[in-house]
Homo-oligomer: 655 residues x 2
């Protein structure tokens, strides 16, 4: 082992690695991809990079962390670290240098980005035809005989060389045009939006230029920084939607905005704009660019998130007949919304299908393209709200389901948003009822490491689906959602009011208590999956189909959904398991596609008009379908594929 | 006489009238059209409306002004008026109530708008086809079965009823759309820009809506508030260009911007934007509307004013080959420039002809329409810079003349910008050399009232032209610009270095000194008029014409130019005096026309491209022509019409 290197482990991200002795903790953090706030850029002047060193033996003795393993505490740190903090082991990451192994805790306030699991957009493949394109030109300088204006000079050249005609100019571009042209010796790269408007120029030949795709979820906001020159996603960042403090779901936020007319909406809007500015900053930092280099943004989100983002009065969204203010896709100057990216950048918002089926679902639509397929596909986008798409190239229906936030971990006793330490996978042995699980941030399963190392903190959406499905498969759960009374096990505890099933024992958790799932929690999951299932049934009736040829599970919450367990739970009608796919954050993928290929925007505009919105709540069959769908599996439907799965001896124990 | 009313005279505006006893001075000011700063709106909380009461007998005994003629000084005024000020007669206009006649001095800092003479745009007649139009519609509210978005609902109706298709929406309009629609019971007036973009809606049927035409002169800024429903100019306001403190002419301002890169330009831009916001406020106040009701703005100005207004780097405008950043007409969101009018309003800037022939000259062009005429016309726009247009429907040439600011009263010993007390008309008796003159703000000529009442303070542009022309006509001035040595008169004073001619005697002035015009002043006038004349000659050569069929004198400086005296002075080549017209601020008229009739914008775009710019300074004949044109009249040219005029016994003594 290299003696010049020491082991550094950062918590709570769990990132670890070998770093050269003598480097500061801030340098180590950068190397290991841990974001620590550092406004002054390591100049010891801002005091934002406070971290705490944890003493003790970690990782089964492989790491012995001591304060002495860092360079001495110099007087300059006193300015920022008080005596009390010093006693607790606080240091400035930009000052303290590595001399031995350390375990570093990065407190919440020092984290540059709120620690959550990232929504990854898979590297989508699409024709590269972005909204913004770059053109290199060399101009002939003006003379007294030919003193044409700078803009017209550039315009002429772009017309002759690239066939771009009638280009307009953003005023911010005109402001610096004369200086940049002359400073660059009349050789420049021009950035043109939609073959229409010049956004800006840069001296010389510029290869790489950037755009940002944004998915504003009710709970999570994810951004994908894309290189528009080659279509690559160069950075992904996410954060909790900062509006969560004003209300967890869409309706409470609408209510919040209504109760305090102008200020309420303004606060919600400022929260998301500020958050997006921070995400643009950190995505830029990851990729080594300035936010001002982001030349376009494509945004998706449900109708309420869309309206709040634009500062549109949204009180009527919550009232029947739920008409949105606007359906059309929109292009708006980023500066008009307070976004701090390129001064001339536009924000493209994908269109809205209906009051409760927003631009996020249009993102799913253009990402999965059910309208290009022969097979009848059901696409379920699971978030704080659930959206359904059903159909094929002939006809497409959409609907919204009030699932509640159970699948995002809310309203579940130990439910949490996906974050390090949350349980994301669960397996129950049908014979012993012993439980194996996996928490985010640890590679190993719970039975592969000592209990003290697991540090489980709660259970996230994908874990909730799995534990309920596994309980049913193991016979612990009856079809009606009650825990089987005839079973006696240390894992099951019954009280007067409700029963609960123990997933993690107290010694395995970071909270010093057991992590359990209660019959009330299961009830919330039943309501959520019942709504999705009933919605799918109504859409199937409307479309006149009896069987699903394909099911696509989309959603950005935590890990990908396990398709087998989603089917056992009964989130959707029976389908060949080979034809059930989990695609992650398809709404975000759609935003990336629209950013990289302008034809996808045209497609979005066309399809958003073609897809037919079905209002489920007023459908006469909905209540009956919903009640039947609460049971695990459905009370009346046939599940030939599910039966096969449950009886199969080769049931895969883990994915 | 009504005993319940008292006489109030405001200085320096000179506005007077009868006002009911018991009213405050602020109310009196409003009634008499005097602008006094009042941020708090008369609530006694801002202290901005300080005025001073002048004691004594005024207006030949008709007005006896005493402090006791105002209500007593209550303690609340102590907050804003110090003991020393109180002793000098200062009061808050919103507190002090009228009990008798008073003469009130409104100090500079309390004037809501800088006191200058207004540039009046004549009520232009044009086809009414404004950039912004209004459309009244009644919509059917959405239902659960038909829950189309608000914007699309409005869009459909406007398409069906008015044939407006593919309208886009400004984001500020979308923000309040849902609320206004429902609050107005779905009956609204929609404001649409250029059949393209919805700017906003108002509840019910709205008849009148407004736009603002703006002429940004180097020295004076004038605004014309127009009712877009009937084309009437409902208010006119002007102010000194607030950039004057950074430099009197275009070149010094360019230098100022260059010397302090970003900040210099920013300061100049902020000055004009703030000034325009104040003018929009006061024009709105005059017409009884809010600035937010101004739905569009059309702006003209020379190239430097245009660039500064937009915040465009202007350093290269001052360097050969003087290429502007942009020629095209532009439409820019008012909010992007910091203008506080309607949140969605656009600003239309007329195009630029060349580096030194700006959008102001395009305003002159579309106002005077030389391109529609058969006669060869010379149009001279006199400002701090002089611009020339020559031609007819066949061909049009333009040029810029560095006249210097003499015609605006600058660089002249007693020169002043047009303001109350400045001499605007001058007549000299050829026999006695006695002088009669008229000052702005007094109806009577100087020989019609007692010397003490005249209170002359200086001489403005039109007065300067007249005094030089009259001195020549009376034989005081020789052709070379020297004062005739053989004449002895109390009006002429000779010193070692120069001679001067006394216009106003000390007892007639407010400055306690004589107001004179010196040989140095005359030299400055010769240079200015020589440049215009020489420029006109070069253009005539280029166009191949020997005689002018029409001369149009435009310019917003003080009064209209007296065409006879302008011809005597030799501002332009010989022309039938019946064919010499003085049209006032044609640039401002052009801005009004473009505001009221969008076809004028198309005309401007087309003509700005067609008019041929001639660079005078590099023309081989310019220097010779300039030298010859310095003499009064021109050294070599024939002046048949001028000869007639000078020899005519019926020479009109005053206009």
């Amino acid at each position: 082992m290299d003696k010049k290197k020491v082991t550094v482990l950062f918590q709570p991200s769990g990132r670890r690695g070998l770093v050269e002795k003598g480097k500061t903790l801030l340098q180590a953090a950068h190397e290991l991809g841990v974001s620590i706030e550092s406004v002054c850029g390591g100049k010891h002047t801002c005091g934002k990079c406070k971290v705490r060193i944890e003493e003790g033996i970690f990782e089964g003795g492989s790491l012995k962390s001591r304060r002495e393993n860092l360079s001495f505490f110099p007087p300059e740190e006193n300015k920022f670290i008080e005596e009390k903090e010093r006693e607790k082991g606080y240091r400035l990451a930009c000052v303290a240098k590595l001399q031995g192994d350390v375990l570093i805790n990065v407190p919440e306030e020092s984290r540059a980005v709120q620690q959550t699991i990232r929504k990854d957009a898979h590297q989508t493949t699409t024709k590269l035809n972005p909204g913004v394109k770059s053109y290199y030109v060399e101009l002939t300088p003006p003379t007294l005989k030919e003193a044409l204006g700078d803009f017209e000079r550039l315009q002429q050249k772009l017309a002759i060389h690239y066939g771009l005609r009638d280009l307009t100019a953003d005023v911010s571009f005109l402001q610096t045009l004369p200086r940049i042209l002359r400073a660059s010796n009349w050789k420049i790269t021009t950035f043109v939006w939609m073959d229409r408007e010049i956004l800006g120029i840069q001296p010389g030949k510029v290869e790489d230029f950037y755009g940002l795709a944004v998915d504003i979820g009710t709970t999570t906001v994810a951004v994908y920084l894309c290189n528009l020159n080659n279509g690559q996603v160069v950075a992904t960042e996410s954060m909790m939607n900062p509006q969560v403090i004003f209300g967890e779901d869409v309706m409470t936020r609408i209510t919040y905005a209504m109760n305090d007319q102008d200020k309420g909406l303004k606060r919600l809007q400022e929260a998301i704009i500020e958050g997006m500015n921070r995400l643009a900053q950190s995505a830029g930092r990851s990729a080594g660019i300035m936010p001002e280099e982001i030349l376009e943004m494509v945004v998706v989100g449900n109708t309420a998130m869309h309206h709040i983002f634009l500062g549109i009065d949204l009180q009527y969204l919550g009232l029947s007949p739920f008409a949105p203010a606007v359906h059309h896709s929109l292009d708006i100057k980023a500066r008009d919304l307070g976004l701090k990216i390129h001064p001339a950048a536009n924000v493209h918002l994908l269109p809205i299908e209906a009051g409760f089926v927003g631009a996020d679902n249009v993102g799913v639509l253009i990402s999965e393209e059910p309208y290009s397929r022969e097979e009848i596909a059901l696409i379920i986008d699971v978030g704080t709200n659930g959206e359904l798409l059903l159909g094929n190239k002939q006809r497409l229906l959409c609907a919204s389901c009030a699932t509640g936030p159970a699948f995002e971990g809310a309203h579940i006793k130990f439910g949490m948003r996906a974050a390090p330490g949350t349980i994301e996978r669960v397996r129950i042995d049908p014979d012993t009822l012993e439980v194996r699980y996996k928490v985010i941030g640890l590679e190993k399963w719970s039975d592969e490491c000592p209990p003290a190392e697991i540090q489980a903190r709660g259970i996230c959406g994908s874990g909730i689906i799995e534990v309920v499905a596994e309980m049913f498969r193991a016979g612990v759960l009856e079809r009606n959602g009650r825990i089987n009374n005839s079973i006696t096990s240390g894992r099951i505890r019954k009280t007067d009011k409700e029963s609960e099933f123990i997933i993690a024992r107290a010694e395995e958790t970071a909270i010093g208590r057991e992590i359990t799932i209660s019959t009330a929690d299961i009830r919330a999951v039943q309501l959520a999956k019942g709504a999705l299932y009933a919605g799918a049934k109504i859409l199937m009736k409307m479309l006149g189909v009896k069987h699903l040829e394909e099911v696509i599970l989309a959603g950005g919450f935590g890990s990908y959904i396990d398709s087998q367990r989603a089917m056992i739970l009964g989130m959707f009608p029976d389908c060949d398991l080979q034809k059930v796919f989990s695609v992650g954050n398809a709404a975000g993928d759609g935003a990336c596609l629209a950013l990289l290929n302008r034809e996808k925007r045209t497609e979005a505009d066309r399809m958003a008009r073609q897809v037919e919105y079905i209002e489920l709540t007023t459908h006469p069959d909905f209540t009956e379908e919903f009640v039947n769908a609460m049971s695990i599996p459905h009370m009346k439907d046939d599940f030939p594929h599910l039966q096969d799965l449950l009886q199969s001896r080769s049931f895969p124990p883990s994915k």
